[in-house]
C-alpha cells in the first residue's frame, strides 16, 4: 500500500483500522510500522476524526425527552384509530341511501298512480307499514 492509497483509505474507512476491510487493514498496519510519515498521517486523521466525534456528541436523551414523547401518545393513538370496518359500513350506508333516493326520484317521475302502486307497496312492506296482501 502506498501513502496515497493509505490517504484515500483513511477517507473511505476512517482512522480506526479495526473497521477497515481485513486486507486493507493489514496492508495499512504494515505501512505504518515502517513509514513514519504514514504513521503521522494516521495520527493526524485520528485527531481530526475525534474533533468531529466531539462536535456531534449527541446530548443526553433523558426523562424530559421521553416524557415529551409519552405526552404526545394519547393524541397519536386517537389519530391512528382508523377502522376499515367503520369506513366500509359508512360507505355502504351512503350507497344505500343514494340508491333509495334515486329509486324514489325515478318513481316520482312516473305519471300514473298505477305505476306508483307496486313500488310504494314494496316500500311500505319494507318499512313494516303494510303486509304482503297489499301487493296482491
Amino acid at each position: 500500500m502506498t501513502r496515497e492509497d493509505f490517504s484515500e483509505a483513511l477517507l473511505s474507512f476512517g482512522a480506526d483500522l479495526d473497521r477497515w476491510p481485513r486486507a486493507k487493514s493489514e496492508a495499512a498496519r504494515q505501512l505504518i510500522s515502517t513509514d513514519v510519515v504514514a504513521a503521522k498521517m494516521l495520527a493526524d486523521f485520528g485527531a481530526f476524526e475525534r474533533t468531529i466525534v466531539e462536535a456531534v456528541e449527541p446530548p443526553p436523551f433523558g426523562a424530559a425527552e421521553i416524557g415529551a414523547v409519552l405526552a404526545a401518545l394519547p393524541e397519536a393513538k386517537r389519530a391512528s384509530r382508523f377502522s376499515p370496518g367503520l369506513w366500509l359500513a359508512g360507505a355502504a350506508g351512503v350507497s344505500l341511501l343514494s340508491f333509495i333516493a334515486g329509486f324514489l326520484m325515478m318513481q316520482a317521475s312516473l305519471v300514473t298512480q298505477d305505476q306508483l302502486g307496486v313500488p310504494l307497496s314494496l316500500i311500505a312492506l319494507a318499512t313494516g307499514s303494510a303486509d304482503i296482501g297489499g301487493l296482491l
Binding site: 477517507l11 449527541p58 436523551f61 393513538k77
Partner: protein, 191 residues
C-alpha cells in the same frame, strides 16, 4: 424490581412485541435505548433543537403506532431505525426548502447554539465551528459522515441506510471527510 431489570435486557424485537400490546414501559425502555441516537443524528443533521425534537417525536410515535413496521429478518433494528430517521430528516429538509420559497414565510429559526456541558469543558468555539462546517456539507454526505462517526455504522450499513451502493456510500464519505478536513485545516490556519 427483578422483573423491571429483566425488562431492560429484553431485545428490541421483544420490546416491539410488547409495544404492539400498548405496553408503555416497553416503549419507554426502547426510547431510553435508542433516543439519544435518533435525536443526536437529527440534531447534528439539521442543527436545530426544535427540528430534532420533531423528528424524534415523529419517529417514536410511528413506532408506537406501527411496531410491526420493522421486519426482523431484513435488517438490524438499529440500521432500520437509522433509515427511518434519515428519511424523516430529508423530508423535513425538503419541506423547509419549499417553505423558504413561499412568500410571507417566517424567517428561518436560528441554529441552536445552546452550549452543552461538553462544550464548556472542551474547546467550545472550535467545536461549534466544526458543527457549522458539517451543516454546509451536502445532505447525503452529511448523513454518511454522521452515521459513520456518530452512529459508528460500517460503510455497508451506511449504504443500506441511505439506499445506495457500498461504493456510492464510500464516495460520499470520502467527499465529506475531504471537504471537512480542508475546512478544519483552513480554520486552524486562520486561528
Amino acid at each position: 424490581m427483578v422483573e423491571a431489570l429483566g425488562d431492560e435486557t429484553l431485545s428490541d424485537e421483544d420490546l416491539l412485541a410488547r409495544i404492539a400490546n400498548e405496553d408503555r414501559r416497553a416503549f419507554t425502555i426502547l426510547m431510553r435505548r435508542h433516543g439519544q441516537k435518533v435525536r443526536g443524528l437529527a440534531l447534528a443533521f439539521g442543527g436545530k433543537a426544535a427540528d430534532a425534537d420533531d423528528v424524534t417525536q415523529d419517529v417514536f410515535i410511528m413506532l408506537w403506532r406501527r411496531p410491526n413496521s420493522w421486519q426482523p429478518g431484513k435488517a438490524a433494528f438499529t440500521t432500520w431505525l437509522y433509515r427511518v430517521v434519515v428519511n424523516r430528516c430529508l423530508d423535513q429538509a425538503r419541506r423547509q426548502r419549499v417553505r423558504r420559497w413561499l412568500p410571507f414565510e417566517d424567517a428561518a429559526d436560528p441554529v441552536d447554539e445552546t452550549p452543552s456541558a461538553l462544550d464548556v469543558l472542551s474547546n467550545r468555539d472550535r467545536l461549534a465551528e466544526v458543527r457549522k462546517m458539517i451543516l454546509t456539507l451536502p445532505e447525503k454526505q452529511r448523513l454518511a459522515l454522521l452515521l459513520a462517526v456518530q452512529g459508528e455504522q460500517s460503510n455497508a450499513e451506511i449504504a443500506s441506510i441511505l439506499s445506495v451502493s457500498e461504493g456510492a456510500a464510500e464516495q460520499l464519505l470520502v467527499r465529506a471527510r475531504r471537504r471537512l478536513r480542508s475546512l478544519v485545516a483552513e480554520q486552524e490556519v486562520v486561528a
